[in-house]
């Protein structure tokens, strides 16, 4: 029995179709990622799973309970961390944690084991008001509050958005520790590097699931020969690469340009260098690279756009 099961879930806000016909399953103990840009429908899915929002169509079960009929049972076994910081800013760190423990009819002491690693970092600030914490600290506190009633399932809506790189890394480390304790985690993120840390991810775009797979499978499924190209000036480089006759697609990827070719070409590197030098580029370097999840995602987006699923 899966920990989370969504069957043909749809939800519209007025004329805007936020989620269309989404079906997903998350296995118990899994660290599952919802990956997609803003507006992909991640938050809507979380709110449906957290029993805060009723879907227009479809069914969903969380920990074997139906989200509509058995919402009360779900509220006892789910820890939800909304994308927006939703703790009481005018209460202290400790007061927030104690309050949320209390309303779940438990105590901080009873489940301290579960939050200890995270909460110990907050102890120096326990008498500080939550509103005065840094972004990273706020996220840790929110995670503690979502965990304090020992949930079977954690729903984390963009927990690392707006958080510095070090805190993000720490946060993901905490998630893997929680996973080891058997807690099922569904987490959303707009960051592709974080997607690689999940066991399985669902790629979402405009309310639809493009693909669900493990990060490794997603990387391997990339169908085109891929090259990382560098040159002195980025912008004209992208333009010239897009005009390259054998190009399938080309986009900026950090400090390099990722170019995929429509056909495998054994001498692609030499051809490209010659092409770019002829176009007047300096310091040109071309190297084949393995595809990342982002490459796969970009490719899926492109095919999705050219052949929209109705």
């Amino acid at each position: 029995m899966p920990a989370v099961e969504l069957t043909n879930i749809s939800k519209a806000y007025g004329a805007t179709q936020a989620v269309r016909n989404v079906s997903l399953t998350v296995e118990p103990g899994e660290l599952f990622g919802l990956i997609g840009p803003d507006g992909a429908g991640k938050t809507t899915l979380f709110r449906i799973l957290a029993t805060l929002l009723l879907a227009d169509a479809g069914t969903a079960t969380v920990a074997k309970h139906d989200v509509v009929r058995e919402f009360r049972a779900i509220r006892n076994v789910v820890g939800y961390m909304p994308g927006r910081f939703s703790l009481y800013q005018d209460l202290t760190v400790q007061e927030n944690l104690e309050f949320f423990a209390a309303v779940f009819r438990t105590t901080v002491r009873e489940n301290y084991e579960l939050v200890r690693d995270i909460y110990e970092q907050l102890v120096p600030f326990k008498d500080r008001r939550a509103g005065a914490l840094s972004g990273g600290m706020k996220q840790k506190l929110a995670l503690c509050c979502a965990l304090i009633h020992k949930p079977e399932l954690l729903l984390l809506d963009e927990p690392t958005t707006g958080v510095d790189a070090v805190s993000r890394q720490e946060f993901w480390h905490m998630l893997s520790t929680l996973k080891e304790r058997g807690i099922t985690i569904v987490v959303s993120t707009p960051y592709m590097d974080e997607a690689a840390l999940c066991e399985r991810v669902a790629l979402l775009q405009t309310g639809q699931v493009l693909r669900v797979d493990t990060p490794a499978a997603l990387r391997e499924s990339y169908p085109w020969p891929l090259y990382a190209v560098r040159a002195a000036r980025m912008h004209p480089l992208l333009q010239d690469l897009r005009a390259y006759p054998a190009a399938h697609s080309c986009y900026a990827f950090g400090e390099t340009a990722h170019l995929s070719l429509a056909q495998p070409d054994a001498a692609a590197e030499a051809h490209l260098k010659a092409y770019l030098t002829a176009k007047g580029h300096h310091d040109v370097s071309v190297a084949p690279v393995p595809a990342t999840i982002e490459d796969t995602f970009m490719d899926l987006l492109q095919t999705h756009h050219s052949a929209p699923v109705s």
């Binding site: 805060l52 009723l54 009360r72 909304p82 939703s86 703790l87 779940f104 509050c145």
Partner: protein
């Protein structure tokens, strides 16, 4: 109940840290009661009086002296003709003009009809009414002194039959006795309703409701946790208000104060619940505030404190059947001034109880943990 207790504890903690709101709850009602009670004065002193004396007789002189001996009138002009005095009224130099016609004394002494004319600026009808009633009582008193049934002033036609009013329950017609209990419950209703109106919707705006809604808190627990802290604050305000009424304004307390307390405890749940209902139905604090204002202004202006309900048109009287302020002001006056018992006020108390239950049931029903 334990969950409710934790919700209350949280609410009180937040309140303690919100200095402005705390001051609004604890200090503002006291200041408002004191200021408004002194300001809502139905006694008028130092009305500007102009006199046109066409008689120049000792009798006219003596009546004029009577006017000047009271604190209510201040002689500002003596004019030879009515035309000049009219100008005083027009320019606002005088609030009223007293005209002694020629042969005033002669008519008086001969036992015929002596007349004085009183011209009152009625731009402000409350002031005009008071001025003419003060003036007529002075004239009546003078008439009694001179010779029974001699002077019949145009303003107070008293001949033959004399009406002696006896003001029961408020013998001196002290406006404070009448106003203070009403102002007190008005202020308390206003403040507690505002505070609860802004409360739930504030959690919506800040987003904390999102986290709270995924907890197993039941809807009634949530509403009760929001209601009780401000209910206590309302009773505190009422306590201070009663002390002020007793020792500063000397409002008589004939009936049982304990009974009034008990009824107030029931009444408070009505504005509190109404605030919570508005709050749970609103999306922003601004929306909630305007809806609450809409109700409060109607409740307050139609509650009978400023205009007697009997003077209002039928639709306003009909509306007042659901105006909780009407009931509580009536009950407070009856218990404090008249010494009414629970038996006497049972009907309005039951009405308030019904409203309290209904409004709060609606608030619980309207509060949604899940949106559609």
């Amino acid at each position: 109940m334990r969950t409710v207790w934790f919700l209350i504890e949280k609410e009180v903690r937040q309140l303690r840290r919100n200095r402005t709101l705390l001051a609004l709850l604890l200090v503002a009602p006291i200041m408002q009661l004191v200021l408004l009670s002194f300001a809502a004065n139905y006694e008028i002193k130092n009305l500007n009086l102009a006199v046109v004396d066409q008689d120049h007789s000792p009798a006219a002189r003596r009546l004029l002296d009577k006017f000047q001996y009271t604190p209510y009138f201040r002689l500002v002009q003596v004019r030879p003709s009515s035309a000049a005095a009219d100008q005083d009224l027009l320019s606002g130099r005088a609030d009223l003009v007293l005209v002694f016609p020629p042969r005033f004394e002669r008519d008086l002494v001969r036992g015929g009809q002596a007349r004085v004319q009183l011209l009152v600026n009625a731009l402000d009808n409350v002031k005009a009414g008071l001025a003419s009633s003060y003036a007529s009582s002075i004239v009546q008193a003078y008439q009694g002194e001179v010779r029974p049934a001699t002077v019949a002033a145009a303003v107070g036609e008293v001949r033959g039959l004399e009406v002696v009013p006896a003001y029961w329950y408020n013998p001196l017609l002290n406006y404070k006795t009448f106003m203070v209990p009403g102002i007190l419950v008005e202020i308390i209703s206003l403040i507690v309703m505002m505070v609860t109106t802004l409360n739930i919707v504030r959690e919506k705006e800040i987003g904390t409701i999102e986290q709270l809604n995924v907890t197993p808190i039941r809807k009634w627990q949530f509403i009760l946790g929001k209601l009780l802290p401000f209910w206590v604050a309302g009773l505190y305000q009422f306590t201070i208000g009663l002390l002020l009424a007793r020792f500063l304004f000397h409002v008589p307390m004939v009936g049982s104060v304990a009974l009034l307390y008990g009824i107030m405890a029931v009444f408070l749940v009505v504005p509190l619940g109404l605030g919570l209902l508005i709050s749970s139905a609103s999306q922003t604090q601004q929306q909630a505030l305007f809806v609450a204002f809409f109700f409060l202004i109607i409740f307050i202006l139609l509650c009978g404190l400023f205009t007697p309900i009997e003077y209002m048109p039928a639709w306003a009287r009909a509306f007042d059947r659901v105006n909780p302020l009407v009931y509580i002001i009536d009950i407070a006056r009856r218990i404090l001034l008249k010494g009414s018992t629970l038996r006497d006020v049972l009907q309005p108390v039951l009405t308030l109880l019904g409203m309290a239950v209904l409004v709060n049931a609606l608030a619980v029903w309207r509060y949604r943990k899940t949106s559609g």
